[in-house]
Symmetry: C3
Subunit: 152 residues, 3 copies
């Protein structure tokens, strides 16, 4: 089954990749590595899910937001490497906009990690850190950046 078939089976489709509004790119390829810019969780109105995780937003909600950020990362990857079956996840930095006493960052970022394994299979397993930021752009709940390997 291809990555697109697995996404369809899960009822998921890839969002549009927003054009960066400044001098940076959704991602950059160097050799067989693809460095992706941080992505946040877009909502159905085209904005982002906002708030501090652990106070404004529950762990369960934030898990879904990490999954949305993961979909945005796959969409950004596809804009650079159209055939998603060539991708292997290498490393995530999962950043949670949490209140200072929050401690369940791994449970939040699992939303992205689980998605990658669901759609990429064994190639979806990766190294990662799941940590708490002091703040995030527009007060987004989560932002995740990723490195993928591109197979021939």
């Amino acid at each position: 089954m291809t990555v697109l078939e697995r996404l369809a089976e899960l009822g998921l489709s890839l969002p549009d990749v927003p054009t960066p509004v400044a001098n940076y790119l959704p991602g950059k390829r160097v050799g067989d590595l693809l460095y992706l810019s941080g992505q946040g969780p877009r909502n159905e109105q085209g904005g982002y899910h906002l708030g501090k995780v652990g106070s404004d937003v529950s762990v369960e909600q934030a898990y879904e937001h990490a999954r949305l950020a993961g979909l945005a990362l796959l969409a950004a990857a596809q804009s650079l490497v159209p055939d998603l079956d060539r991708l292997e996840a290498v490393k995530l930095l999962g950043m949670v906009n949490a209140f200072p006493e929050f401690g369940q960052h791994p449970q939040v970022i699992n939303g992205c990690s689980d998605l990658f394994v669901q759609v990429l299979g064994e190639r979806g397993r990766h190294a990662r850190s799941a940590v708490g930021m002091g703040s995030l752009p527009n007060n987004m709940t989560v932002e995740i950046e990723a490195i993928f390997k591109i197979h021939d």
Copy 2:
């Protein structure tokens, strides 16, 4: 026009690279990748611009600080790869020392992204994340780390 000529045209020169005061390096090369240590915005007295962005320091001031951090990154790169025309920006992690409700991290880190495109041209475009830290060394306003590709 070379990178040094573009810097001169902008009225900019590269600062000295401070010697790390501990067991780390300004940067490390592996193959054709150059990993640079995080750099902050030095002021004319040799210290750093300090304060929380969004409360002590404005977005406009912090944009200039991100530009100074970008100059420090180019200086660190030059200490390892003397010919700056061989460099291509790959990835930035732009870290803003912001108050918890701050949301304009991209506008701050643009100071570094804009500089890289001004002096490196198309090779200056990069993937990046622009995020908010809980604190930074000495209460610096911004710190940016970077990965460059080294061309032959």
Copy 3:
């Protein structure tokens, strides 16, 4: 002297590598690069050292915690590359769970940097950033992620 001999001379041994409890890995190798997941400072009871650095925990204590995180990184590396003498440290992201006015992140992360140079020699020197997070998993004091180069 081998890396294991240097560790023994320092009276240190590598801890067990905890099995990740989710869809991620302790580390992932791509070519000659090894990306390691973030590691925290485990205590003798199998839990983690907890608290905010600069208020609950002193710089000196946190230095020791960064050293413990460094040992956990070496253990994770060994689980993927059994011969530690093939490893060269490339890049650290040293994350301190600090209170917002804290400024001595470099002095904390030196605990890991010093360890790497003590046991890996010149190959232990690396690029790094040492920064302050808003929060960390379970309220751990520090978390450090690393990239190593694997020599033949």
